[in-house]
């Protein structure tokens, strides 16, 4: 088997498999009724399996032989399209494989409603044309393409496909609110991509190269480079939802169907964050952005942590609470830019690794929690917290999913969130920027507070709202398994950090798996 994994053609699989599945699922939209649903489900699951297998194969390949480069059709850069996989790429692929796989399984149950049933059961009647699978598969292909792209322009292409398919997923609900949220997201997304493209154009104008590695070597601190860095950072911060550019996020995550919210909140925001990581450290890392440049995203991230958490506490619907919680958790990711540019370079890998690890931990936990919210809406018909008192008696697994996912949000030990936030905390103390450490701790306490806003009324023993039908077991089960997985991520960090250190922009030094 070892020889099979040597074959670099594996690198195409994470992109081609969902892309092919998207096309097939799209063609299947022509069939009516039950047959279409079954066929699309089969195609989607096959693709999820294929992505998972190819991600594992790439993991084996990268951790065995270091970063891999693949020339599409044998054309060399700068004319041909190259793919490049290092530890970070494979780590992100594994994240999409886990969360996307769970999302696919969840969608089986989520969209299983029969047409013409009770009109109040809005949640599952939102995909009468079967558009979910093709859109989600295109989205998945674009994310995987982004994680493997080796040049700045292909990153732009994948970014645009990502934005378009994500906006379409938001509008899937078909309500007034869904269309306006989708439209707003589309504007934000196009604006972000164009800012990125302008940045890329400036880079190409300065250095005549698009390949990330070539750019990294050529980049020197000249004014157009700073403009490019600023434009790209602005565009990506907009798409990731960094405070104060998060205004589109709550409406978008709330009005999308829950299966799509889970994917959007879990993965889509992370993809633009990945792009930012690539550009900052692979392209501009060599030309060393000044120390204070990293403080801008760092400070905004710190504000986002607190502000998002405070806003989350004020929400009365589960999905808006979760969306503001995402604003807060996204803030953590941006702390790493400040911590990496700090005074102690030996701490850089800790900060960088902690941030990247939080991407995985948060993706699992937040996706699980949105799925659980979907189960609540499916069963009760709404997600308004004041009307959900005592809901634990009726939907124990979903409430438990919340509690378990909350462990990662709060960063309690053994969870992936603990590992990540511990690393961010030690890095902030180690680089002498203790105030960021305080924000990390405060964010955890605030997370506990806003999660209790839902858990407290949910757990009390009072006569509760009527559950007018049971959600398919597969929905609550998938959410619960994913939440449990996020809690055990802290114990599985050693091999993942080993993977991350392959081709990392910083030496991993003496840091063990913690």
């Amino acid at each position: 088997m070892a020889s099979v994994f040597e074959n670099t053609n594996w690198m195409l699989a994470p992109i081609l498999v969902p892309l092919a599945a998207a096309t097939v699922a799209f063609l299947l939209m022509g069939i009516r009724g039950e047959a279409r649903r079954n066929a699309q489900n089969a195609v989607g699951l096959a693709a999820a399996l294929g992505v998972a297998l190819s991600a594992l194969a790439l993991w084996a390949m990268v951790s065995g032989g270091g970063p891999v480069r693949y020339e599409l059709g044998g054309w060399e850069a700068p004319l041909g399209i190259n793919l490049y996989a290092d530890g970070l790429s494979v780590f992100m692929l594994i994240t999409t494989a886990i969360v996307g796989g769970a999302g696919s399984v969840y969608a089986l149950g989520y969209f299983s409603g029969r047409e013409g049933e009770d009109a109040r059961r809005r949640e599952d009647l939102q995909d009468e044309t079967g558009s979910f699978w093709p859109l989600w598969m295109f989205l998945w292909a674009s994310m995987n393409g982004m994680f493997l792209a080796a040049d700045a322009f292909n990153l732009y292409i994948t970014l645009e496909i990502l934005g378009l398919s994500a906006a379409a997923l938001i509008t899937l609900g078909g309500t007034r609110m869904a269309f306006s949220a989708g439209m707003r997201y589309l504007m934000v997304s196009l604006l972000g991509s164009l800012a990125y493209l302008l940045g890329v154009a400036l880079l190409y104008g300065s250095f005549g190269a698009l390949d990330l590695a070539t750019l990294g070597e050529a980049a020197s601190p000249i004014p157009p480079v700073w403009a490019a860095l600023a434009l790209i950072s602005l565009g990506m911060a907009l798409k990731t939802g960094l405070f104060p550019l998060h205004f589109w996020m709550p409406a978008a995550y709330t009005s999308a169907p829950s299966a799509a919210s889970a994917i959007l909140a879990g993965l889509v925001g992370k993809a633009s964050f990945y792009l930012l990581l690539r550009v900052w450290f692979d392209v501009f890392g060599g030309s060393a952005p000044p120390e204070y440049a990293g403080q801008i995203p760092g400070v905004l991230g710190a504000v986002a942590i607190v502000w998002g958490a405070v806003m989350a506490m004020r929400q009365t619907r589960i999905k808006t609470l979760l969306a503001y919680s995402s604003v807060s958790q996204m803030g953590y990711l941006f702390l790493l830019f400040a911590l990496v540019s700090g005074a102690a370079p030996e701490r850089s890998f800790e900060a960088w690794g902690g941030g990247v690890y939080l991407v995985l931990a948060h993706a699992c936990a937040k996706a699980a929690m949105f799925m659980a919210a979907g189960v609540v809406i499916y069963s009760v018909g709404h997600d308004e917290i004041p009307r959900l008192r005592g809901i634990f008696q009726k939907l124990p697994i979903s409430v438990a999913t919340f509690a378990v996912g909350g462990i990662t949000m709060m960063g309690l030990p053994t969870s992936g969130g603990f590992t990540a936030k511990y690393l961010l905390f030690t890095a902030s103390v180690g680089t002498g920027q203790w105030w960021y450490g305080l924000v990390v701790l405060a964010g955890s306490i605030l997370a506990a507070l806003y999660l209790l806003r839902f858990l407290n009324p949910a757990l009390i023993q009072v006569p509760t709202a009527k559950v007018y039908r049971d959600a398919p077991q597969i929905m609550s089960g998938t959410a619960f398994v994913l939440a449990i997985f996020s809690v055990f991520l802290g114990l599985m960090s050693a091999p993942l950090f080993e993977l991350l250190s392959v081709g990392a922009p910083f030496p991993s030094g003496t840091m063990g798996g913690s």
């Binding site: 700068p78 004319l79 809005r122 949640e123 939102q126 322009f153 732009y156 292409i157 645009e160 934005g163 378009l164 906006a167 379409a168 509008t171 609900g173 078909g174 309500t175 007034r176 609110m177 869904a178 269309f179 306006s180 949220a181 989708g182 439209m183 707003r184 589309l186 504007m187 196009l190 604006l191 164009l194 493209l197 302008l198 154009a201 190409y204 104008g205 005549g208 698009l210 205004f247 409406a251 709330t254 009005s255 999308a256 169907p257 829950s258 619907r317 999905k319 809406i377 709404h382 997600d383 308004e384």
Partner: protein, 103 residues
């Protein structure tokens, strides 16, 4: 010259995108922002002694992306118009309809 006009078009349209509330105007603004970038790229291609084909390829691909993005944006605007009777985004705070939204 082209370089500067490209950046100028981009900046003016970014401004237009923010100030105009009507969605069709917003879509046109975004479209023209893209054109600003394309002008900039073609200008970059002409700078050397011989024309550089790579930015041209980027512009062609970019046009394809812009066309599909515009088509999709217009489709959403139409749906929004059908649903609400006007082509404006609701202001912050008006988002939540009394029936609890799409969930």
């Amino acid at each position: 010259m082209y370089l500067l006009s490209g950046v100028a078009v981009f900046a003016v349209c970014a401004y237009a995108l923010v100030v105009h509330a009507h969605l069709i105007r917003k879509v046109i603004a975004i479209n023209m922002m893209g054109s600003g970038v394309f002008v900039l790229l073609t200008a970059i291609a002409r700078r050397g002694d011989e024309t550089d084909p790579v930015p041209h390829a980027m512009v062609l691909t970019g046009i394809v992306v812009a066309v599909s993005a515009t088509a999709f944006a217009l489709a959403v605007v139409r749906k929004l118009h059908e649903a609400t009777g006007h082509a404006y985004l609701p202001e912050e705070g008006e988002d939540a309809p009394p029936d609890g939204g799409g969930g």
